[in-house]
Amino acid sequence: MATKSKTAGKGTRKRAKDEGREIIRVSEHTAEIVSDSGEGAQKCGQIFGAVCAKMGNGAWTVEIIPAEIQPPPRSKAGGSGNRVRFGTERITNWGDATNLVVAFNEQVLLGRHELDALADDAIILLENMWATHPDPDIQQQWKEALEALSTRNYRIIEVPMEEECLKIVEDPRRGKNMFALGLFAFIYDRDLELIRAQIAHQFRKKSEEVYARNVLLMEAGYAWADANLDFRIEIPTVKSDQPMVVMNGNEAIGMGAVAAGMELCSMYPITPATSASHYLSDVFDKFGGVVHQAEDEIAAVGVAIGASYAGKVAFTITSGPGLSLKQEFLGLAVMVEVPLVVVDVQRGGPSTGLPTKVEQSDLLAAMFGQHGDAPHVVLAPATIEECFHSMVTARRIAETFRTVVMVLTDANLATGVQPFPRPELDPRWQQAPVSLSPIPEGKPAYDWDPRTGLSSRRVPGQKDGMHTATGLAHNEWSKVAYDPESHERGCRMRSRKIAVLQHTLRAPEVYGEESGDLLVVGWGSTKGAIEEAVDRARAQGLSVSSCHLTFLSPLQPGLKEIFRRFERVMTVEINYSDEPHDPFITDENRRRAQLCLLLRAHTLVDVDCWSRVPGQPLRPGFILNAIRERLAMGVGV
């Protein structure tokens, strides 16, 4: 993409007030800001991303998160900030590399460079106070860093941010970010009114004075850029003809929970799930909803199950370690057929792993982590929009099928920001799940339809409905029953529901041609990157399509049918798999990616996988390489 934007932009000029200034006109660009943590780069990026979206650009914002609680200043591992990829069309993923970066010191920049985050021809706006810093060590570091950076084709523009900000505030550590925002505003010709409104929103809990100062700083950045830069970058905006909203995936989960009529979010803090409950904590009581922070994850799911048993709409939200702790209770919910929605915002594992970073490695634990046979539903939204709607779907399935529905998102969706069509809300989503009408005589607690396994829900308060729900094997009266028939029937009824749900699902759509040399299969947050890779591959004449699965349990129908139409099938996932050519790895002992394993068992097709666990979203370019490699064409791009 970098190359593409460059060629598209180079040499194009715009008239009017930009006389003499190079106007780089591109259909998309990736801009980022990176600073020490605590310098507010995240806020700048968030505002910038929102403004781009509001102006009518497609956009995808990802957070740049430092690896440590309090990384030392000016350290390569300490970079914090945001990366905003935006363009004229819809943007579905973070892309490959940054085209323009504002960096507050050369070390965090170096960190990004070493991570290979920057395009070869990236434009860099770099705070230059360090070059002349009184500390000779720092001067030396600056020199060495610039030397290291010179191995690439970057265009480095030094910016006296500190100096400029000092004209307005005493402590530029708390202002430089707005100055940088001004730089972006000028470079990308953003709507200043919108920016001011967004600053107001961002600091809505702060004083008027804070707002005014931040606007001043932003304007100073704008002015500096106007006076000093010989280029601007133009990315045409297209106002969407439908109303759009912009938010991150955790906000979408939270809002989706409200839209789905949820009444209780029972949770225990864990990154990267927590921010969804932060969001809900802020707004939920307006809707009569409660966020209950329990003493631990086990209690969190227990409280949700209690509430659901009592007839309310409850969910719990967590990440990997919390999922492990909840397994016993999840099995119970399946066993007593209490509807329950569980959101797992996946992060890097195993164990505490990479708490802030993306991974898709909880799939098998979500599916199989409960002892015994505990059939339930697992689904995975692929976009931020789907995060919202998945909560509505999850509730509906949980209640209709009286079972557990797990919604798997990940750190990429959780923190990524993207505009999407404003959801149309439906009051029916809000309906109370059950009435308190009396139970007719002779109706068992589980009035299983022997064909479908479905039964009607019953909650305390319903006259003549008294019974004791139990996690022990039980018969339809919910009486403990250890005889073979009762247990086998219970198992059968609980499992049958999954088959019935499967019959209501549609085959997934194939993205691209319906047949070909290679089908890439994915799930969850990788959709945008995979489809972009497929587009590029097809543009290169490769016969590649993709197919993205929303339901993981049950799997959607027709997969084998689809797979058969392709020479090869390969999953692309962010979880670990052995590389086929590594020492000791054979086709027989290779540990494959998680969806890959499921699909092999399900279809008996020799599904291959390409998976990585970098703690970052996958780049479309890398997926493209993998596609080429699998098509035995060597590595391209």
Binding site: V246, S266, H292, A310, L436, S437, M466
Partner: protein, 317 residues
């Protein structure tokens, strides 16, 4: 029992049913003969009848253990969940349906061992429910392993040469937790006292923790033997604001006046001595209840949609 009137919780029609003991009878209790759980069940049924609690508005939540079979033997709603996890489930029920009567039945392993964290925190939340600890000093259902309340040196299948640790004192531990609002101790073999204690617990607005000394003839027959045989081992804590049953004076001569408002006194009395103290250690009606703190006005679906729409406006492009 006759079924009259309307069963909906809030339809305004007067419910003229009256309930008798039998109306609360579930499946036939399957505890061993002589098991103290039988008398606890009886006392609870008496309480339900005396208070005329509607079976459909009453929920018994339990964990796993002999004692946790309790809900099955009642004709109310019941939730027989996971070992150690009764309290979170009960909290969920009551938090969202405060109009229900919630009782929790736990064993000593259930509550004090695997469930200890929830026990501490349920005490803190002070949700209005009655929590019964059926303490037989042993893991009954799994056939005789040491529990936290097993007396020192008492043998079990996992510690055949006797336990290593002094027994945990559930009353003292509960009294150590901020927000503890009702802590009492009673014994199942003194039905009158048991019943009065349950009643006081039920009437307390908040989390009422009752430790019930419970005989298990199979695994810990000897533990409460002396206390059963020699009434003088028992010291009744009496008070007008607590429990005082003059009828028992003849048998239980050891008495001590203790005001349940006095937390220091409660902690002193809770210390283990040769005496087994029964009665209310502590009661404080003034402490807020979590479900009240979290109560919010209800909204119609339409209101919620309107509010959410406003919320979406904030995120509009």
């Amino acid at each position: 029992m006759t079924h009259y009137g309307c069963s909906l919780l809030s339809c305004g029609v007067i419910d003229e049913r009256t309930f008798e003991m039998d109306d609360y009878q579930g499946a036939v209790a399957r505890w061993c003969p002589g098991c103290g759980d039988h008398s606890i069940l009886t006392a609870v049924q008496r309480l339900l009848e005396e208070e005329q609690l509607k079976p459909e508005e009453t929920v018994f939540v339990s964990g796993i253990g002999c004692s946790s079979r309790f809900p099955h033997y009642l004709n109310t709603y019941g939730f027989h969940g996971l070992h150690g996890r009764a309290l979170p489930v009960a909290t969920g029920v009551k938090l969202e349906r405060p109009e229900l009567n919630v009782f929790v039945v736990m064993g000593d392993g259930d509550c004090c061992s695997i469930g200890a964290g929830h026990w501490i925190h349920a005490t803190r939340y002070n949700v209005d429910m009655v929590a019964l600890l059926l303490d037989n000093n042993m893991y009954g259902l799994t056939k005789g392993q040491t529990s936290p309340t097993t007396p020192l040196h008492f043998p079990s299948n996992t510690q055949p040469r006797g336990t290593y640790l002094e027994a945990l004192n559930p009353v003292q531990a509960t009294l150590g937790v901020t927000n503890a609002s009702f802590v009492a101790q009673t014994a199942e073999w003194i039905p009158a006292h048991l019943y009065e204690t349950l009643k006081a617990a039920y009437h307390h607005k908040g989390f009422s923790f009752v430790r019930i000394l419970q005989r298990c003839p199979v695994y810990t027959a000897s533990v409460y033997d002396e206390a059963v045989r020699k009434p003088d081992v028992i010291e009744m804590m009496v008070h007008d604001d607590g429990i005082y049953l003059p009828d028992l004076d003849q048998i239980y001569k050891q008495k001590i006046v203790h005001n349940p408002k006095d937390i220091d006194g409660a902690r002193r009395l809770a210390e283990v001595t040769e005496r087994v103290r029964l009665g209310v250690f502590y009661r404080n009606e003034a402490l807020p209840r979590y479900e009240d703190l979290r109560r919010l006005p209800a909204h119609t679906a339409e209101e919620r949609v309107r509010l959410l729409s406003e919320e979406l406006d904030r995120y509009a492009v």
